[in-house]
């Protein structure tokens, strides 16, 4: 779906995120940044998978990819801003960007912590098999998507054969020390219109089943809510379930999540260098103002900006909250 179409649908809903957060924030009742500790780079929309719930709409057919020049502009900012401790690389399948290795090495040389948001199956694709060893060598943290600890929901959400391939990739990563000495975390999102159970409870289930059945180990499970965007939004519309889903998110609104929202600690950069409060705003093309491009980066203006919110933000504040690092309230 085009960003403008999504924005029109979200704006027409009877829910108001601004009304929900206003009583919990000081004047002028707007979300503002607390720090800039993470720069999240979306280095392309190309992916070897095309998943039903992907808010990016990534697929093998997408061609958008971050150029070396844009990467260098990002690296200049990463080098200059000491407060940025983590570079969070996402996509698409970030490994499919030809300059992925260059970017990882450059960030590590700057002493930054690097996260690769990996779909796992890419590590089994011809031409990409070497990336597991490369990331182990560089000490990259892997945040791997795995919707479920069994084949059923995983293949339904991500395509036939994805679960078996993901398990093979996880075993390969375990063999390199991931899950023990190197950080390997899994990302879970619900397979439909419900909120995930507690992160701790699901982590126990995932650990037990993946270890028992497949001998796979990992560190933590991070639970994300599905935001009503792109493919998931379209699915809700097709089933005439958007309003009940939004009702559920609104009913689960938890003001305790506001302090930890990822948009207050990070900046999201698109493949072509534009700046956004988060990856979700990026998909809606809600650029930050007044400096929407990385080449015009100004720390002072970024840290003093007002974060743009809309009704999709209810997804990050529902229940225990949701962020790129999982739930926000223990």
């Amino acid at each position: 779906m085009l960003p403008n179409d999504q924005l029109a649908i979200l704006a027409a809903l009877p829910h108001s995120f601004q009304e929900a957060i206003s009583p919990h924030l000081p004047e002028p009742h707007a979300l503002t940044p607390c720090a800039l500790t993470t720069l999240q780079l979306n280095i392309g929309k190309r992916c070897n998978q095309s998943c039903r719930h992907c808010h990016v709409g990534a697929s093998p057919l997408r061609t958008e990819t971050m150029s070396r020049e844009t990467m260098d502009t990002c690296l200049k900012v990463i080098a200059e801003v000491d407060e940025i401790k983590t570079v969070d690389i996402t996509g698409g399948a970030p490994e499919m960007n030809d300059n992925f290795s260059y970017l990882v090495k450059a960030c590590k040389n700057l002493g930054k912590h690097v996260i690769d948001r990996c779909n796992l199956t890419i590590l089994e694709e011809p031409g990409y098999e070497h990336f597991a060893a490369f990331m182990a060598e560089q000490g990259v943290e892997i945040m791997a998507s795995l919707p479920y600890f069994r084949k059923s929901y995983t293949d339904r959400q991500r395509g036939a054969g994805v679960f078996d391939k993901s398990v093979r990739a996880l075993r390969k990563l375990n063999g390199l020390g991931y899950g023990t000495t190197l950080p390997l975390n899994l990302i879970y999102n619900p397979s439909g219109m419900y909120l995930s159970s507690s992160q701790q409870q699901l982590e126990c289930e995932f650990k037990h089943h993946l270890k028992q059945t497949h001998g796979v180990e990992f560190h933590h499970l991070y639970c994300l809510n599905n935001l009503p965007l792109d493919g998931f939004l379209q699915a809700l519309l097709n089933l005439d379930k958007l309003t009940p889903y939004m009702d559920m998110l609104k009913a689960a609104f938890n003001p305790c999540t506001l302090d930890g929202l990822m948009c207050r600690y990070q900046l999201s950069v698109s493949y072509n260098g534009y700046l956004y409060d988060c990856d979700f705003n990026q998909m809606l093309d809600l650029k930050i103002m007044p400096t929407p491009h990385i080449r015009d980066f100004s720390y002072d203006r970024i840290i003093n900006r007002k974060i743009t919110t809309m009704n999709h933000c209810f997804g990050c504040t529902a229940g225990s909250g949701s962020s790129c690092g999982g739930e926000l309230v223990k």
Partner: protein, 110 residues
């Protein structure tokens, strides 16, 4: 009353404390303790609850525990097996009474 079972009534369950509040509160406290993880995980307990919901044919509980089972990490195959356990038990309970019937036959027919 349009129907004996209204989906919205499930949300009103807690209002049974309108009278006899101390007893109602004790029930909810007991229920919440029972469903917490112990020797069994929350997911396993939810599957048992789903089977009981089917055995006792409670539409409220089937509605609630289908969702809870999914949230806790069960898939359709596991939930379907739980329902089969309920069905298998119900069938067995019926059949085992056939022994009483046979005892009566053996006592009666000479």
């Amino acid at each position: 009353m349009k129907s004996y079972y209204e989906p919205d009534d499930l949300q009103k369950f807690s209002t049974i404390t309108r009278v006899n509040k101390p007893l109602g509160d004790k029930y909810f406290s007991y229920y919440n303790s029972v469903m917490k993880a112990g020797a069994l995980s929350e997911r396993e307990k939810a599957l048992i609850a789903l089977a009981v919901a089917h055995a006792l044919r409670c539409p409220y509980c089937i509605d609630a525990y289908t969702r809870i089972c999914i949230e806790k990490g069960s898939d359709e195959e596991q939930m379907n097996e739980a329902v089969h356990v309920a069905a298998g038990m119900a069938a067995g309970i019926t059949l085992v009474h056939g022994v009483q019937m046979m005892n009566k036959i053996d006592d009666t027919i000479i």
